[in-house]
């Protein structure tokens, strides 16, 4: 069976952005991009691409398609995946598909996976590092009716079976499911490979296929905000009662003593 892998990737605001540069538009319920800080590929998704490449390297065959849902700029994260070594890119770019909850997003991605055709393994990051749901990968599996293994640190494929190690905190559990299947990947898998210049240049020349909701056969009520099962009621920056008590002292040593005393009084040490 030829291996045909789809990796779902998302473009996100860089999580290394300092909190002080973070803004939201409460009316629009949207995050305002931090000036001068370029969006990046969601870290766990880059690791999912790495997992796909490792599978392909080990088997010596397979096709990897990088799939993203987002505006024109999301082309960059697809190109990032292509530069890492993926073969093809598909971008779902249509206002009707945006601002959905993970269920609506999974509905669109699933339609695209079906349209790509003959896909037998879908890899996703364990969660997107912006909205942090951790739902989309498992929802894709459920919509497709495929088995899934979530939050894994290694993925291998042999003879129609995918084997992955789940990260359980106190243990790693090795789980096998038959293909086709969905696997979500965690950071424990290891660093994603860094694209080299010739690969970046080759990826830049590659065409990215672009599909709209209509191309996916999705009606407006199935996609984006209308297709969501959750209503985003409010998005806000929590009121941090800047309650930080700064420790006084003329010397570092005196400050250290004062802090230790405070922590002792608060029964924290």
């Amino acid at each position: 069976m030829a291996l045909n892998i789809v990796c779902c990737v998302k473009q996100v605001p860089d999580p290394e952005t300092p909190a002080s540069a973070f803004r939201v538009d409460e009316g629009a319920k949207k995050v305002v991009p931090a000036p001068g800080i370029a969006p990046v590929i969601s870290q766990f998704d880059a690791i999912a691409v790495e997992a796909a490449l490792r599978i392909k390297d080990a088997k010596g065959e397979g096709k990897i398609t990088v799939l993203s849902l987002g505006p024109d700029s999301a082309r960059d994260v697809i190109k990032h995946g292509l530069a890492m070594g993926a073969d093809e890119g598909v971008l779902l770019n249509d206002q009707a598909l945006f601002d959905g909850d993970p269920f609506a997003t999974a509905t669109a991605l699933t339609a695209a996976i079906k349209k790509i055709g003959d896909v037998n393994l879908v890899l996703c990051g364990r969660q997107a590092v912006d909205w942090d749901f951790g739902v989309t990968g498992l929802a894709i599996a459920e919509i497709l009716g495929w088995p899934a293994i979530s939050i894994t640190k290694s993925v291998t494929v042999t003879d129609g079976t995918v084997r992955a190690e789940r990260v359980l905190g106190d243990a790693f559990e090795t789980v096998e499911v038959p293909l086709p299947a969905v696997v979500t990947v965690s950071n424990e898998l290891g660093e994603p490979r860094y694209p080299k210049l010739p690969q970046i240049m080759a990826a830049a020349r590659k065409q990215v296929t672009v599909w709209t909701a209509a191309d996916l056969g999705l009606s407006p009520d199935q996609a984006g905000r209308s297709g969501s099962r959750l209503n985003l009621e409010r998005l806000f920056i929590p009121q941090v009662k800047s309650q930080c008590e700064f420790i006084e002292g003329d010397t570092p040593e005196e400050m250290a003593k004062n802090l230790a005393r405070k922590l002792r009084e608060a029964k924290l040490i």
Partner: protein
């Protein structure tokens, strides 16, 4: 029937702490809505767990006391949850943001034809609807959701809700249900994680270092302090990327989420990547030269100071206090 269905996770009949917290939250919501709380527990010891769930606030409980459910399996557990769903026809379903909840809640929500809000830190009722609030963007923002579909499904973060005092005099019906526990997945191996000292996730005190330490040597003092305080050492992603410490120490979005009573951040600026790992910590102490560092915004105590002489003196003082 309708009600609030709570997955009561347990180990050999002993409820996990988070399940007692969720039962407390469910009780408060149910009292506002005039609904019942139904606990569901699975696997060996489920009956014992169900009776405890009632003492912690449930009105009744469902059990599937099948050893095939002792270990988590997505297919089998979602079948059990759907069977309970059919019994209860819940308006709200709550479970913990545990390794089980992370995997089970999305599967269940899709099959039940509804949505799910993961990792909620606040649950309230507005206009008869459940409002589910969760941290997003590494905790920089909070998002509040309602569900357009029923039931409203949420997973709940540990220590975000208060449990009730268990009341052994409370009683309620415990009903066994049966489900098809077959699974497409097969567990073929398990490797325990060897704990060296206290696990970061379990530690009551975490002493974490960032780039401000200036080099890997700085961690030596942090280790000494952690030892004196009976805690564990953590690190920001920046210093893991620099290779100063192993990735196993990383606290943050792509590292570990920790919930100690005391978190001491030394030379850490407070990027959302890092803060995402400590949003549940009430007592953050920040030690940083830069008075404008973001970390102070989420700290209870701060010291604007050169870490080196400060930490040396702090270590000595802690040793003296602990002696």
């Amino acid at each position: 029937m309708s009600g609030i269905l709570v997955l009561a996770e347990h180990k050999n009949g002993e409820l996990i702490g988070l399940s007692t917290e969720i039962l407390g939250a469910a009780r408060r919501l149910a009292d506002q809505l005039g609904e019942k709380v139904v606990a569901l527990s699975l696997g060996s010891g489920a009956g014992e767990a169900a009776r405890k769930a009632i003492t912690y606030g449930a009105d009744s409980a469902l059990t599937v006391e099948n050893p095939a459910l002792d270990e988590y399996s997505g297919d089998a557990w979602v079948a059990a949850l759907l069977a309970a769903h059919k019994e209860v026809e819940p308006s709200i379903v709550l479970m913990g943001q545990t390794m089980v909840g992370r995997d089970l809640a999305p599967r269940y929500a899709v099959r039940a034809g509804t949505g799910v809000a993961m990792d909620c830190i606040d649950l309230s009722i507005e206009g008869g609807k459940l409002v589910m609030t969760r941290p997003v963007f590494g905790g920089n923002a909070h998002a509040s959701y309602t569900s357009k579909t029923s039931p409203a499904v949420a997973t709940v973060r540990a220590k975000s809700q208060e449990p009730l005092e268990p009341d052994p005099s409370r009683s309620g019906e415990v009903k066994a249900i049966s489900v098809d526990v077959s699974s497409r997945s097969k567990v073929v191996g398990r490797e325990e994680v060897k704990a060296e000292g206290i696990r970061l996730e379990d530690a009551k005190v975490v002493v974490s270092g960032g780039r401000g330490l200036g080099g890997p040597e700085g961690f030596e003092q942090l280790h000494q302090l952690a030892e004196v305080l009976g805690g564990a050492v953590g690190a920001s992603r920046a210093v893991v990327d620099l290779g100063w410490v192993p990735v196993s120490l990383q606290v943050g979005l792509t590292g570990k989420v920790v919930t100690p009573d005391l978190y001491i951040a030394v030379g850490i600026s407070g990027a959302s990547q890092h803060v995402a790992g400590i949003t549940g910590v009430k007592n953050v102490v920040a030690i940083n030269k830069d008075k404008d560092a973001d970390i102070f915004k989420i700290s209870r105590y701060g010291a604007v100071v050169d870490w080196k002489p400060f930490m040396a003196a702090f270590l000595e003082e802690c040793k003296r206090l602990k002696a």
